[in-house]
């Protein structure tokens, strides 16, 4: 016999402790994401909260003057917030119709060969770096729009919305496509069997059924666009004013941080203010993510899928 039983007691003690070590070796890094998330929260709050000893939170959030480098600095982020919201909303106007429409096409209308080409293509395009979009916007689109629309500068909220919107389309398209594929075939079959056209089925049955799933895609798209930095940095114009029209330059929250962090001395009020902005940004995206998660879970439960 190759495996004498007398070996066993000695080996077994070694094996037990070794297996526990392995389990721990995997278990501890598993919490890394949570750990980093907590770490980010901690760091942002640690560096950003001290601002509110010097500036009242209400003044921070609603103040309309952002002059961090003046003799008598002012830290009102309303113009920055407004800039973010304008640009993000504008981008949504572009990316939602295009993204959801493309997803509908790929999911419902495209044949198998088309699907096999389009799906990977969209995935591929989702990977184009944001700096390339920003560069393209700055060098090609902005001058073009400036000439075309006779506006003082092409670097404005409109251009930024346009570019951001196009950038977000592959993401919204993929997420919506996933949501649509969860809708059971039985819904479609039932509708067609009643004499509805495919288009009617799509609009009146599939789309409503996928409603929460697509809303999730929209919320996540919104969150990503709001968090986007490089594109807006290069294209939105950089003026920290509350825009009155789409064609004015703006400075969203993200580009403020990116543009000014280099100049702010560590530990200075400016530095803390930028961290405070990051706190706000982080909290907002966290809220959106959680909302999307809840919505997505409710969507899957509604369709009868257990997760």
């Amino acid at each position: 016999m190759f495996f004498p039983s007398s070996f066993v007691p000695h080996i077994m003690k070694k094996l037990i402790s070794r297996e526990r070590i392995y389990a721990a070796a995997f278990g501890i890094p598993a919490f890394a994401c949570l750990f980093f998330l907590a770490g980010i929260t901690l760091v942002l709050f640690k560096e950003g909260l001290p601002l509110f000893a010097k500036v009242r939170p209400w003044d921070f959030l609603s103040g309309t003057a952002w002059y961090p480098t003046h003799e008598d600095p002012e830290f009102g982020i309303l113009p920055l917030l407004a800039g973010s919201l304008w640009v993000t909303a504008g981008a949504m106007l572009v990316c939602l119709p295009l993204g959801i429409g493309s997803a509908l096409y790929i999911n419902e209308i495209a044949g198998n060969t088309q699907k096999a080409v389009l799906k990977p293509l969209v995935e591929l395009l989702a990977g184009i770096p944001s700096i390339v979009f920003g560069f393209f916007g700055m060098v090609v689109v902005a001058p073009f729009l400036q000439r075309l629309l006779h506006i003082p500068t092409g670097l404005c909220a409109f251009t930024a919305s346009l570019i951001l919107g196009i950038m977000a389309v592959p993401t919204v398209c993929s997420l919506s496509d996933d949501a649509l594929s969860y809708v059971p075939a039985s819904y479609r079959e039932a509708s067609l069997a009643l004499g509805a056209t495919r288009w009617e089925t799509l609009i009146k049955v599939v789309l409503p059924a996928a409603g929460s799933g697509i809303s999730t895609a929209a919320i996540l798209g919104f969150s990503r666009v709001m968090g986007e930095t490089m594109t807006v940095l290069m294209v939105s114009g950089g003026a920290a004013i509350i825009p009155r029209s789409f064609f004015q330059p703006v400075r969203p929250l993200t580009s403020t941080i990116a543009a000014e962090m280099g100049e702010a001395a560590v530990g200075s009020t400016h530095y803390q203010a930028l961290f405070a902005i990051a706190m706000l940004l982080f909290t907002l995206t966290l809220i959106f993510n959680i909302a999307a998660e809840i919505l997505s879970r409710r969507y899957r439960l509604k369709l009868g899928l257990q997760r």
Partner: protein, 253 residues
């Protein structure tokens, strides 16, 4: 019936969550004999056999009451190494599950994980196992081909060879022929008759005729209870329980 007892189940109750799957099972497995477990679908036979090598440990929220002994030792004793139990009590599954590796590698795996390093010894053992599983003649020219290219019956014999290589004492067969054609099935049944001379075999089968063909003792399970246990001949010709008789004669199942 007083041959040596290899494994014994005593008062075994098994629960999935709060649902009882096995109720008060008492059973003896005798050395160098084939013990068959028969019964209709859902009667608990697979659940029971998987307790014998503690595969059901991995089912969440399950609970075992009662004891199971291997050579007199309680296999659920906290001091016992479950990994060692699984080596000593091998298992062949319903659907052949060779690893996506070569035929040689499939068998080598079991040896490696149990500490064997010597290449020449490994080679000998691989050949030996393949011969015992009556697969050697068919694969000796292509040991390094992928195991997935073999037919269903060949794959199952490979799984048996893989199991034999680690020198188990008891081999559990969980409906091993369920996904095989009749010719492969009869080959495996012949193999079982050969193997019982060296190993103790427990086979779960939904095919009564198979149980009658290969086994020395048979246990009849119904709805989680072991209704009757005895010599195969007795069970099939003069069953003591009316339920056994009903199943044997095909009134249900």
């Amino acid at each position: 019936m007083d041959k040596e007892i290899r494994m014994r189940a005593e008062g075994v109750n098994f629960f999935y969550g709060s649902r009882p799957a096995l109720k008060d099972v008492n059973l003896e497995i005798y050395r160098n004999q084939v013990t068959a477990i028969i019964g209709p679908s859902g009667c608990g036979k697979s659940t029971f056999i998987r307790l014998l090598n503690r595969m059901n440990d991995m089912v969440p929220k399950s609970r075992l009451e009662g004891r199971i002994f291997l050579d007199g030792d309680d296999i659920h004793d906290p001091d016992t190494d479950v990994v060692d139990i699984r080596r000593r009590v091998g298992m062949v599954f319903q659907k052949p599950n060779p690893f996506p590796k070569s035929i040689f590698e499939n068998i080598k795996y079991g040896l490696e994980i149990n500490g064997m390093r010597d290449k020449s010894v490994i080679e000998d053992k691989v050949v030996d196992s393949l011969k015992k599983a009556v697969l050697w003649e068919e694969v000796k020219g292509r040991l390094y081909d992928s195991a997935l290219r073999l037919s269903g019956g060949q794959q199952q014999r490979l799984c048996i060879a893989r199991c034999l290589a680690v020198e188990p004492e008891v081999i559990l067969f969980d409906e091993p022929c369920a996904s095989l054609d009749p010719i492969s099935t009869s080959r495996i049944e012949e193999l079982l008759m050969e193997l019982k001379q060296e190993y103790t075999i427990v086979i779960v089968t939904h095919n009564m005729q198979q149980a009658a063909r290969v086994s020395g003792n048979t246990a009849f399970f119904l709805l989680g209870e072991m209704v009757e246990f005895g010599k195969t001949q007795d069970i099939f010709t003069k069953p003591r329980d009316s339920r056994t008789e009903a199943y044997i004669t095909g009134r249900f199942g």
